[in-house]
């Protein structure tokens, strides 16, 4: 299963990015094979508005079926769930550790957005 994480680099020992919509990149991690690919999101890092929506579209287009993030706003949540991407809200941590937690079923799927838009 492919899962997405907002990140700043392609190193799994690095911390997950704090924001979802304005993350510079997404890591799309395949849990079956422990491989990943990167999706660039720099366009949304600098978007005037609607970054969360576009980022959610990017994640949906990547084929990911789940996303792990620290915070998710209402519009992004709406797009992700419409696209069939499950949202797992988690405290930040190293990407590798979060993937392990996900695999062990230690992360819970969220039934709503956890922050208002523009929360930062």
């Amino acid at each position: 299963m492919k899962i997405a994480l907002p990140v700043t680099s392609d190193k799994i020992e690095d911390q997950m990015n704090r924001t979802f919509g304005r993350a510079p990149k997404f890591m799309i991690y395949e849990t079956e094979t422990d491989t990943f690919e990167m999706v660039d999101n720099i366009q949304n890092l600098n978007a005037a508005q609607g970054a969360g929506i576009q980022s959610a579209q990017n994640v949906a287009s990547s084929g990911a079926k789940a996303i792990i993030c620290e915070n998710c706003g209402p519009k992004a949540y709406q797009v992700l769930t419409t696209a069939g991407v499950e949202v797992y809200i988690s405290e930040s941590g190293k990407v590798a550790e979060l993937v392990e937690k996900f695999k062990k079923g230690e992360l819970k799927s969220s039934s709503s957005a956890n922050v208002e838009g523009h929360w930062l």
Binding site: Q49, G50, I53, Q54, Q57, A60, S61, Q78, V79, A83
Partner: protein, 281 residues
């Protein structure tokens, strides 16, 4: 003559001065409250009869029967108000829409129509010599320029018009100020006042509108605003002293010109001086 009363920093006294200018002017005058996120000029006017209209903007509605999810509407939208993915899903976010109409034009299936979305209201009334217009953005709505334009479109052209502008130097301020003949930038003698005054000066210069500065509570704080104006060759056309009497009056909805009648003469002198200084159209 359209006089916009603006500032970079909020809380410097735009409304205080706008109302005082309108009330001090001789003859008929228009006062436009374009600070539509928080209009408050009305507090200082004795309003009896008013007329209120709804302000709407057109936003897209997609007929999902006709939509093939080709994504052309999402592609043309500069404001991320429409997204489309997977060839199965197209979603509209009306709050982000700037009503450009591009999506409706580009849709090959003619699946997009526009519907009016209420974003606020426009109030008109007359108080003494003042024709007063106020725009008010609906709570939860983000886009104030369409309301500001609605206020301006409802105004008469040939009257002395005082525009109480929103603070800052972003789109709402530009929408309120861009067609003014003259801008009065209100500031306070503090580092914050100066910082935001510089931003406002740069903005107004860029729009090539004649302007001068009013310093509110000029006798407190420091002299950096005055030094900046002197160095830049910017005229300081009004100075309002700090006064507890004015503050107490303000808290009761009594305007500056009533609490401190001596400002009327200064304001009239200022109005006289800009008659010929305004932008020539």
């Amino acid at each position: 003559m359209k006089l916009a009363v603006a500032s970079g920093k909020g809380g410097t006294g735009k409304t205080t001065l706008s109302v005082a200018i309108a009330k001090s002017a001789k003859g008929k005058v228009q006062l436009l409250d374009c600070d539509v996120e928080e209009p408050n000029s009305h507090i200082f006017l004795e309003i009896k009869d008013k007329e209120t209209k709804t302000v709407t903007v057109p936003v897209p509605v997609i007929d999902m029967e006709k939509c093939t999810h080709c994504g052309k509407c999402a592609e043309i939208c500069e404001f991320n108000a429409i997204i489309s993915f997977g060839g199965t899903t197209t979603m509209v976010f009306p709050d982000l829409c700037h009503s450009c109409g591009g999506c409706e034009l580009i849709c090959p299936e003619k699946a997009i129509t526009e519907k009016p979305e209420e974003i606020g209201e426009l109030t008109k009334c007359s108080v003494g010599n003042i024709k007063f217009l106020e725009g008010k953005l609906k709570i939860g709505k983000a886009m104030s320029p369409p309301i500001i334009r609605a206020v301006k479109n409802a105004a008469e052209n040939d009257l002395l018009t005082v525009i109480d502008s929103p603070p800052g130097t972003s789109c709402p301020m530009i929408a309120a100020v861009h067609d003014a003949d003259y801008v009065l930038l209100v500031t306070e003698p503090t580092p914050f006042g100066l910082n935001d005054l510089i931003l406002a000066v740069d903005t107004v210069k860029d729009m090539k509108i004649p302007f001068s500065v009013a310093i509110n509570r000029f006798d407190v704080g420091d002299d950096r605003v005055e030094k900046y104006c002197e160095a830049q060759g910017i005229e300081i056309s009004l100075k309002i002293p700090d006064s507890r009497k004015v503050a107490v009056a303000y808290s009761k909805g009594i305007s500056l010109d009533e609490a401190m009648p001596e400002v009327k003469a200064d304001i009239r002198r200022f109005l006289k001086s800009i008659e010929s200084a305004g932008r020539q159209n």
